[in-house]
Each structure stands twice: as C-alpha cells, then as structure tokens.
Amino acid sequence: MNLNATLFAQLVVFFILAWFTMQFVWPPIVKALDERAKKIADGLAAAERGKQDLELATKRSTDALREGKEKAAELIANAEKRGAQLIEEAKANAKVEADRIVAGAKAEIEQEAVRAKEQLREQVAALVVTGAEQILRREINAQAHSDILATIKQDL
C-alpha cells in the first residue's frame, strides 16, 4: 500500500501501450470493420437494385406482350375491314359491269328489232307490191302507181 516510483513507471507504460494500440492495432481493424460494413451495405443495395430491375423487366415484358396482342388485334381488324371493302368494291364493279352488259344487250336487241322491222317492212312492202301487182296486173301499170306504193311502204 506504499506509494513509490512504480507509479511513474506505470504511467509511462500506460502511454506507450496506448500509443502502440493507436498506431498499430486500432486503425487496421477499424478499417477492416468499416470495409466489411460497406461491403455488406453494397451487397444489400445490389440485391435491392436487382429486385427493382427484375420488377422493371417483368413490367416491360408484360407491356410488350400487351402491345403485341393489341397490334395483332388491330392487324386482324384492319384485314377484315379491308376484306369487306374489297368485297364491297367487287360487288359495285360487278353491278356496273352487269348494268353495262345489260345496257349493251338492250341496245343490240333494239337494233335487231329495228333491223327486223326494216326487213319486215321491206318484205311486207315487197309482198304487198307483189300482191297488188298480181291484183292490179291487169288494170294498172305498176310504174304509174309506184309513188303510191312508196307512200304505203313508208307508212308500214
């Protein structure tokens, strides 16, 4: 329990030991601990980022799928519309063609009828003249009455 110079020796040893720890023990271990803490923090951040990326990718793929479906549906709708349009057009064309053909046929028939009438008229006229000739052979000259006959022919 006596005090003596040991006190000062202990005091000096105390500071030397503290200095040694301060210089060679504490800094490397604290540095390693900080580095490990940073590594763990980075790892956690990377995991979080990965999760977010996955979420984003999932969302993007869903979007792409939906977009593709929409586009396909639109294409089909367009094709259907175009088809209907084509049919409509074809129908219209066919109708015009039919009308034209009918009109042509009608005109031809008309012409035929006119020509037939003409022929008929000629033949009737010829017949009438022949008949009249035979009836009138004896009493009248065909030449003398040719203008009357022409008038009759005209009226037929």
């Binding site: 005090l3 110079a5 040893v13 504490w26």
Partner: protein, 288 residues
C-alpha cells in the same frame, strides 16, 4: 489459488507472516518499504508483470491487426473485433468528437485489455509464481506479488495517466483561456466572490475522480487477492489437525466459488475502469 498452500505451512510461518509476506512487493531495495511514500523505491514485480501483460495483450491484437481481413474473419479476428466493437460503441456514446475518438478509442481498448490481463494474474495459483521465483533465486523469503492491479502504484499510475489525457483534452477543446474560465466560474457561476470556491471545487473534483478511479480497481483486486490468501490459509491448516479434512474440502469449495466469482470481478473492474476513462475524457469535452 493455493495448491501450494500447505507448502507455506511446511515452512511454518504463522498466518500473519504468510499474509504479510504475500503482500510485500519485490522492490529495488530488497526489503519492505518503510515509509508510506518513497519515490526512490520501485516495485520490480509490478513493473515486470504489467509490462508483460501489456505486451502479451497488444502482441495478440497486433498479430490479428496485421492479417486483418474485411472478408470472412477467423475466430481470433472475430474475438478481437467483438472487444474492439464493444469499446468503440461505448466510446461513440460517451465521446462525441470523432476526431478525439481516433485516440480515445485505442486508449480505452488498451486500458480494457491490459487491466483484464493484469487482473487475470489472480487466477494463477497464489503461491505458484512466488514459489518458482524463490526456487530460482534460491532465497526462500524472496518477495513477489504477481497482480499489478493489486498494487496502488499500478492503478494510480493509470488513473493519473487518464487525468493527464483529460487535462490535455480540456485545453485542446476549450482552449487554455476557456478552460481557465471554466475552472473559476463552474459549477456555481460567474461572480468574483465565487471564484475561489469554484476553483476549489474543481480541484477537489479532479482529485476525487483520479484517486477514486485508481483506488476502486486497487481495492477490488487487493481484496480479491486477500480472500485467496485466507482461503489458502484455511487449506494450510489441514496439516496435523483432526478436523483438517473439512478444512481441506472447505478450501477446495470456497476456492472454486471465489475463483468463479472473481472472473466476474476481473472482467467487471476492467470494464468499469475503461468506462470511467471514457466518461472522464468525455467530460473534458463538454463545456459547463
């Protein structure tokens, strides 16, 4: 503890002689110090064992620090890291300057490890090292005390070291003028009549802090050592008495119980000394 307790009995000193012998330091004079304070004397055993313990502790930590990795730590590194983290957490809570902590943290770690190891010298059989020393020197009355923290010089030396660190931070943080101002105006206030009272209170505070800091550790370890001696004496009384068997059993029982309880004291006192070191240095950082 006291496997060699009965050896003391064989040399046949009285109980009083045995204890006094065990409480006498191996000092530079070769005999027990006469006066209470004599700075021409130095306790060789305290110096040697405290340096030995300090070097041992720091060597182990230095080996770990040299091969330290931020990857997966080995067991030894993990153990050192646990202690270091514990000290660092305590330091963070008490000393708020990160700059100061770079010095205070290592200081607190050194204090903790060093005192823990010095206190642990108590676990060695009480008479083991003294007997070896007596055999080596050939002097059967050679003195040797192996627990440096059971020497008031050892503990006061450390607490004065802490005081010096506190004074350093008082001046560093507050400036010499600021610290002087605090010495004369705190705790009672700034009035010329109060200056001497304030100053006296501050001086008492520094003195009380330092003395109680050193005395607390010393008292605990000294008392612990003394109890080991008494237990050893109880076992030593076995020789030659009929009730001795019970004393022998009592020695083993109480020796075991006290040693186990002493593990707590060893760790606790090291922790308390470290915490008070941090608290006192933390106080030096705070202006009143």
């Amino acid at each position: 503890m006291s496997t060699a307790g009965h050896e003391a009995a064989a040399n046949a000193p009285t109980a009083g002689e045995y204890i006094v012998h065990h409480l006498t330091h191996l000092n530079s004079t070769g005999h027990a110090q006469k006066s209470i304070i004599d700075f021409s004397v130095i306790n060789l055993d305290t110096v040697v064992f405290s340096v030995l313990m300090g070097v041992l502790g720091l060597f182990v930590m230095w080996r770990v620090a040299k091969s330290v990795t931020s990857g997966v730590p080995g067991r030894m590194q993990a153990a050192v890291e646990i202690v270091l983290e514990m000290v660092n957490e305590q330091a963070k809570g008490i000393v708020h300057s990160a700059e100061s902590r770079k010095a205070v943290g290592p200081l607190a770690l050194t204090v903790f490890i060093w005192i823990f190891l010095m206190n642990s010298m108590d676990f060695l059989p009480l008479d083991l090292l003294p007997t070896i020393w007596q055999t080596v020197t050939g002097d059967h009355h050679a003195y040797l005390r192996v627990v440096p923290t059971a020497d008031l010089n050892g503990t006061l030396g450390m607490s004065i070291g802490v005081l010096l660190v506190c004074l350093y931070y008082n001046v560093k943080i507050k400036g010499f003028g600021g610290w002087m101002h605090e010495l004369f105006t705190a705790p009672f206030g700034s009035h010329p009549l109060l200056y001497p009272i304030n100053f006296a209170m501050q001086m008492i505070e520094f003195l009380a802090k330092t003395v109680s800091h050193g005395m607390r550790l010393f008292g605990n370890m000294y008392a612990g050592e003394l109890v080991f001696m008494l237990i050893a004496l109880m076992g030593a009384a076995w020789a030659g008495t009929t009730t001795g068997v019970f004393l022998f059993i009592g020695h083993i029982l109480s020796g075991s119980i006290w040693a186990i309880f002493h593990i707590l004291i060893v760790a606790l006192q090291a922790f308390i000394f470290m915490m008070l070191t941090l608290v006192y240095i933390g106080q030096a950082h705070e202006a009143h």
